[in-house]
Symmetry: C2
Subunit: 198 residues, 2 copies
């Protein structure tokens, strides 16, 4: 399966480049050079530049979604589960900054439009929301959470991840999870919740 390795390597290199520059600024030649292959080889793995690009992006989101599903799988108390899910997302992105930028860029564009590939993108993207939403709903069912609009607030949670990562503040994954979940669950209205001091 040497060919598979090569393909994967191309994806990794392409990801790096696409994350760093605009689509049209990344030349097929650049990708080829970066991956130590000839330009022609790219075309024996991917139909064209667009296909390569989508393969990159798609590969990234599939990885992320796997982590996510895994984290949401084992059932624990709602809050703990929520932390686990957020932890999964943040861990993945911390280890793959490249994908973070790439996915951010991609779904900034992800409007209503629908070129076949966008369709798949949309559905993978939606799955993340579904997972988060189901965690919230479980919390509501158990009486632990008060979440009037689970779907919407699932979007909010996912958005918070992006915010924290783009903030530039250098925090550990745990710290990020804490900021997000604490803010989300306990709010910023005075009266610290329970965690503050002894």
């Amino acid at each position: 399966m040497k060919s598979q390795e090569r393909r994967d390597n191309i994806l990794v290199c392409a990801a790096r480049l696409f994350a760093a520059a605009r689509f049209d600024e990344v030349l097929m030649e650049d990708i080829a050079r970066e991956a130590s292959v000839a330009k022609g080889t790219l075309y024996s793995h991917f139909a064209d530049k667009d296909a390569l690009y989508f393969a990159v992006v798609f590969d990234g989101i599939l990885q992320l979604n796997n982590h996510l599903r895994a984290a949401a799988a084992q059932d624990r108390p709602p809050e703990e589960q929520l932390r686990a899910v957020m932890n999964a997302i943040l861990t993945f992105f911390s280890r793959n900054r490249v994908f973070f930028r790439l996915l951010s860029m991609e779904d900034a564009k992800a409007g209503p439009g629908g070129s076949e590939s966008r369709q798949r993108w949309q559905s993978e993207r939606t799955e993340q929301i579904d997972v988060i939403e189901s965690v919230l709903r479980r919390g509501v069912a158990g009486g632990d959470f008060h979440v009037p609009q689970p779907r919407l607030q699932a979007f909010v949670l996912r958005g918070m991840v992006r915010s924290v990562l783009t903030s530039g503040e250098k925090l550990s994954v745990k710290e990020m999870v804490d900021v997000i979940v604490d803010t989300f669950l306990y709010g910023a209205r005075s009266k610290a919740p329970e965690a503050p001091s002894p």
Copy 2:
């Protein structure tokens, strides 16, 4: 000042196109046609395609920042002020969906890199955070808010706006503001805060 009008019209048309397609998919000819000008005219207003693009983006963020500053200017009780600020952002984007996509795309890319134009972008972008952060700090100073990391949480708030807008749920601006501010201030941990019933 006919020339100014024309220039503005070009910006508006270009914004629409750039929001709908990738940079390299938008042709100067398309922009010219959309704006009912000849291609050459574009070059008497903007040095090149990149300059035009950045002018579009920059124009958008300047408008937004003006609204934002205005909203944060008059001082009111912290919570009310926070609502006003969020309202300003959401109102602007609701009226200018185009800019929402455009700005989202642009700052997805906005990594550490620094091509002169990006520098300016970065600083305008930062100003939004500064405004939100100062609102939070005022709330903390007055003892109304409990916000351990004002800057970070300012990012979170801005991110929530994006989340809600991308969610696809069709809500009025007021409803969006409420979801965001309520979540941010009161949290999702059971025990509804104060607003629920009688």
